[in-house]
C-alpha cells in the first residue's frame, strides 16, 4: 500500500479542489496516467500518477477541498520508485513528452553557401513581371549590379526590333498609322482561321458587276450565318450580332489602305450598291471622304483580285470577326457534268475570328457565298 498525498501544485498553494476523478477504485493505472483534475486558486491542473498499480481508495469526492500534503489516493503497488516529487505544473499545463528534440544540424550563424541573386529596384521587378521579361537577360546599370526601371525599358525597346532603324526613318501618319495599329492589335488579339475555296463563275452572264455580285453574296451569307456579321470584345468575352450589314470595302491608294463602309448594304439594290462603290472610290481618291463613312463596319470585303493574287490570309480588323478576300478570277479546266470544260473560277479566302465564330458557321457562310456566285441561290 502506498498513500499518495496531494503535492504542492506550486507557488505554495495550500489546497486544491477536486473537479473530476479520471479513475475509480479497482482501476489499474500506469505511471504518469492522469488521475484527477484539481482546481487551484490559479488554474485547473491534471495530476499524473506517481506509481503504477491498483487504486484502493480515493480520499475525496468531486468538489471537496484537499489540503496540500493530505492523502489523495491509496495505491496497491510494488513500485518502489518514489515519484511523488512535484513536477511543478503550477499554472496551466505544459505539453510534456519524452520524445526527442529533432533539430537536425544547427549552424551557429548563417549557412555558408551563398548564391548571389539578381538585385533589382522593386518597380523594375514589377515592370519586368508585367512585361514578361526575364530579369536574367537584362544588363544592369545600377550600382553593384542593380537592375533599374530604365534597364528593363531599354531591354523591351531593343527586344522586338533586333536592329534599330536609321535616324531619317519616316514616321507613319494618317491611314498608314491607323493600319499599322489595327494590324498590330489584330495580331495580338484575334485568333484567326482562314478557309480557301473556289467559286465556279463560268455561268455568270457576261458584263456582270463582280464587285456588286460579291457584296450581294455576302449579304445573303450573313442572313444565313449572322454570327459573322458581328463585333467581339475579347476582354469582356462579349459579342454583338447586327441586323444591319455594314460592309467595309478595302480600297488601295498611294497614301495607304482606306476602308469605306457601305452602311446597311442589305437595303440597297445592285444599282445603288454600284453607285455607292463608285462614290467611295472617288471620295477616297480625292481624300474628300468623311470620317463617318469609314466607321461602323460589321464585316469586310477585300477585293484584292482586281490587282493580283489568288489566295490570301486576310487580317481581321477588330472588333469585327470576319473578312472575305476575293482573288483574281481566271480561266481553268473544270469538270462539268461529267465532261471537261474550260470555265472561270474566283478564288475566295475567308478569315474568321475563332474566338467568336465556329468553324461550322464560317464554312457554311463561305458555302453560301459560293452558291450565290454560282447561281444556286
Amino acid at each position: 500500500m502506498k498513500i499518495f498525498h496531494l503535492p504542492d501544485l506550486g507557488e505554495g498553494l495550500a489546497e486544491a479542489e477536486i473537479r473530476e476523478w479520471y479513475i475509480q477504485v479497482g482501476d489499474t493505472v500506469k505511471v504518469d496516467q492522469p488521475l484527477v483534475s484539481m482546481e487551484t486558486a490559479k488554474a485547473v491542473v491534471d495530476v499524473p500518477s506517481p506509481y503504477a498499480g491498483k487504486i484502493v481508495e480515493l480520499h475525496g469526492k468531486v468538489n471537496e477541498i484537499i489540503k496540500t500534503g493530505a492523502p489523495l489516493i491509496t495505491f496497491e503497488t510494488n513500485d518502489v520508485v518514489a515519484q511523488d516529487k512535484p513536477k511543478g505544473t503550477v499554472v496551466g499545463s505544459l505539453e510534456e513528452s519524452s520524445k526527442k528534440w529533432e533539430e537536425g544540424d544547427v549552424i551557429v550563424g548563417g549557412a555558408k553557401t551563398r548564391t548571389q541573386q539578381i538585385k533589382a529596384i522593386p518597380a523594375a521587378r514589377v515592370l519586368a513581371k508585367e512585361m514578361n521579361v526575364d530579369l536574367n537577360l537584362i544588363n544592369p546599370s545600377g550600382p553593384q549590379g542593380l537592375i533599374t526601371v530604365d534597364d528593363v525599358k531599354q531591354f523591351m525597346d531593343r527586344k522586338p526590333h533586333g536592329t534599330s532603324l536609321p535616324e531619317q526613318a519616316e514616321a507613319l501618319h494618317g491611314v498608314r498609322r491607323v493600319m499599322a495599329q489595327a494590324m498590330s492589335q489584330s495580331h495580338k488579339e484575334v485568333v484567326p482561321v482562314t478557309i480557301i475555296e473556289d467559286a465556279d463563275i463560268t455561268d455568270l452572264p457576261a458584263g456582270t458587276d463582280i464587285t456588286v455580285e460579291i457584296l450581294q453574296a455576302i449579304i445573303t451569307a450573313v442572313k444565313a450565318e449572322p454570327s459573322l456579321n458581328a463585333w467581339f470584345d475579347g476582354k469582356a468575352l462579349e459579342r454583338k450580332l447586327f441586323d444591319e450589314i455594314n460592309i467595309g470595302l478595302a480600297v488601295d491608294t498611294p497614301e495607304g489602305l482606306f476602308v469605306p463602309v457601305i452602311k446597311q448594304a442589305e437595303k440597297h439594290s445592285p444599282a445603288e450598291l454600284r453607285q455607292i462603290v463608285d462614290t467611295y472610290k472617288k471620295t477616297v481618291r480625292d481624300r474628300s471622304i468623311p470620317a463617318a463613312d469609314m466607321q461602323g463596319a460589321t464585316i469586310t470585303l477585300s477585293n484584292f483580285g482586281t490587282i493580283t493574287g489568288r489566295y490570301a490570309t486576310p487580317i481581321i480588323v477588330p472588333p469585327t470577326v470576319a473578312i472575305l478576300g476575293c482573288g483574281r478570277s481566271r480561266e481553268a479546266v473544270l469538270p462539268h457534268k461529267g465532261e471537261i470544260r474550260i470555265g472561270r473560277i474566283m478564288p475566295l479566302s475567308l478569315t474568321f475570328d475563332h474566338r467568336a465564330v465556329t468553324g461550322g458557321e464560317a464554312t457554311r457562310f463561305l458555302g453560301t457565298v459560293i452558291n450565290y456566285l454560282q447561281g444556286n441561290n
Binding site: 537536425g104 549552424i107 550563424g109 548563417g110
Partner: protein, 326 residues
C-alpha cells in the same frame, strides 16, 4: 550526455555555473525551497545553500533592485520572475539602473545580472502568464535580450548570459519547457550571444523566428519541403542586439522573407527586422516581407489561445503569398 528538457537544461546551466563560479547567486519567488514555479531551480538550495539560493518576498521591484545592488558589488545574480507578466514592477530597476549603470558611472561599475522569466502562450494559463513582450526590452539601450528555443541553446545561452558582464533579459519559452528532450553535454560550453542559429538551410524563402514559434516554423518548413519549397529557418535567439548580417545574407540568397513571432504585430521585433531588410536588402527582395504574428490584443484565455498563436498553416499561407511573386 543526458537527454533533457529545456527547463532541465536551464537547471543544468545554473548548477554548472554555480559550481564553477562562487559569485553566481540564484534568487526569486519560491526558487529555493520549492525549486521554482516551473522547477527550473530545483535542487540548487540543497547543493549551494541558502546564502546562494534565495527565496525572496513577493515583490518584483525589490528582486530587481537587490539584483542590481548585488551585481554592481561584484556578485552575479540570476533573478527569476515567475512569469513575464510579473516583471513589470521591476522595470524601473531594469531600465533605469541595470541597463544604465555602466554608462552612468562612465564604466567604473557594470551590472552582470541575468533576469530570467518564462514567457509566451500555449500553456492554458491566464493572460499575464502568457504574453510575449520581448520588444519592450529589446527597445532599451544597455539590455541584451536572449531567447533560447531548444535544450541545447537554453544551456549554452544561459551560461553565456551569466558570464556576460552586462544585464541580460533571458526569456524562456514555457510552451517548450518540457515539450521534448535533447542530448545536452554538460561541458560548460557557452554559445555566442550575438549570432542567429540557422536550423534549416534553404533556397526559396527565409523564415525568421525565435522562442516557442521555432516549433511551428520548423513544422511549416518541413511541410513546405514536401511541396518542393525549400525554406531556410533562422532562430534569431538574441533579439537584441540583432545579428542582421546572418538574416540579410539569407534574404539576399532567397529573395523572400517571413518573420514569425508570437508577440503582437504592431511594433514587434518583426517590425525592426522588416525595416532593416527594407533598408539593406530591398533590391534582393522578390516579394514584400511577410510578418506572421500574434494579434494586437491581450493574449486570450485557454480556449482561444490556439487562434492567437501563429499556426503552421498561417506560416505556410504566408510563404504561399511570397511564392506568388516571380
Amino acid at each position: 550526455m543526458a537527454e533533457i528538457t529545456l527547463v532541465e537544461a536551464v537547471n543544468l546551466a545554473l548548477e554548472f555555473e554555480m559550481q564553477s563560479d562562487p559569485e553566481v547567486i540564484v534568487m526569486g519567488e519560491d526558487v529555493a525551497k520549492n525549486g521554482g514555479v516551473f522547477r527550473a531551480t530545483v535542487g540548487l538550495l540543497d547543493k549551494f545553500g541558502p546564502e546562494r539560493v534565495l527565496d525572496t518576498p513577493l515583490a518584483e521591484s525589490m528582486i530587481g533592485g537587490v539584483a542590481v545592488g548585488m551585481a554592481v558589488q561584484g556578485l552575479k545574480p540570476v533573478a527569476e520572475f515567475q512569469f513575464m507578466g510579473f516583471i513589470y514592477p521591476a522595470i524601473d530597476q531594469i531600465i533605469n539602473h541595470a541597463a544604465r549603470i555602466r554608462n552612468r558611472t562612465r564604466g567604473r561599475m557594470h551590472c552582470p545580472v541575468v533576469f530570467r522569466t518564462p514567457f509566451g502562450a500555449g500553456i492554458h494559463a491566464p493572460e499575464h502568464h502568457s504574453e510575449s513582450t520581448e520588444a519592450l526590452f529589446a527597445h532599451i539601450p544597455g539590455l541584451r535580450v536572449v531567447i533560447p528555443s531548444s535544450p541545447a541553446r537554453a544551456y549554452g545561452l544561459l551560461l553565456a548570459s551569466i558570464r556576460n558582464p552586462d544585464p541580460v533579459i533571458f526569456l524562456e519559452p514555457s510552451r517548450l519547457y518540457r515539450f521534448a528532450k535533447q542530448e545536452v553535454k554538460n561541458d560548460g560550453k557557452a554559445l555566442p550571444l550575438d549570432v542567429c542559429f540557422t536550423l534549416r538551410v534553404g533556397e526559396d524563402v527565409t523564415l525568421v523566428t525565435w522562442g516557442a514559434m521555432v516549433k511551428e516554423t520548423l513544422a511549416a518548413a518541413d511541410k513546405l519541403k514536401e511541396e518542393g519549397i525549400s525554406a531556410e529557418v533562422i532562430d534569431v535567439a538574441t533579439i537584441k542586439p540583432l545579428d542582421m548580417e546572418t538574416i540579410l545574407a539569407s534574404v539576399e540568397k532567397t529573395g523572400r522573407c517571413a518573420i514569425v513571432h508570437e508577440a503582437p504585430l504592431t511594433n514587434g521585433v518583426g517590425a525592426e527586422i522588416a525595416a532593416q531588410i527594407a533598408e539593406k536588402a530591398l533590391f534582393s527582395l522578390k516579394a514584400p516581407p511577410e510578418r506572421v504574428t500574434g494579434f494586437d490584443t491581450v493574449v486570450p484565455y485557454a480556449r482561444l489561445e490556439k487562434y492567437y498563436i501563429p499556426s503552421e498553416k498561417r506560416i505556410i499561407d504566408a510563404v504561399y503569398r511570397l511564392m506568388e511573386y516571380a
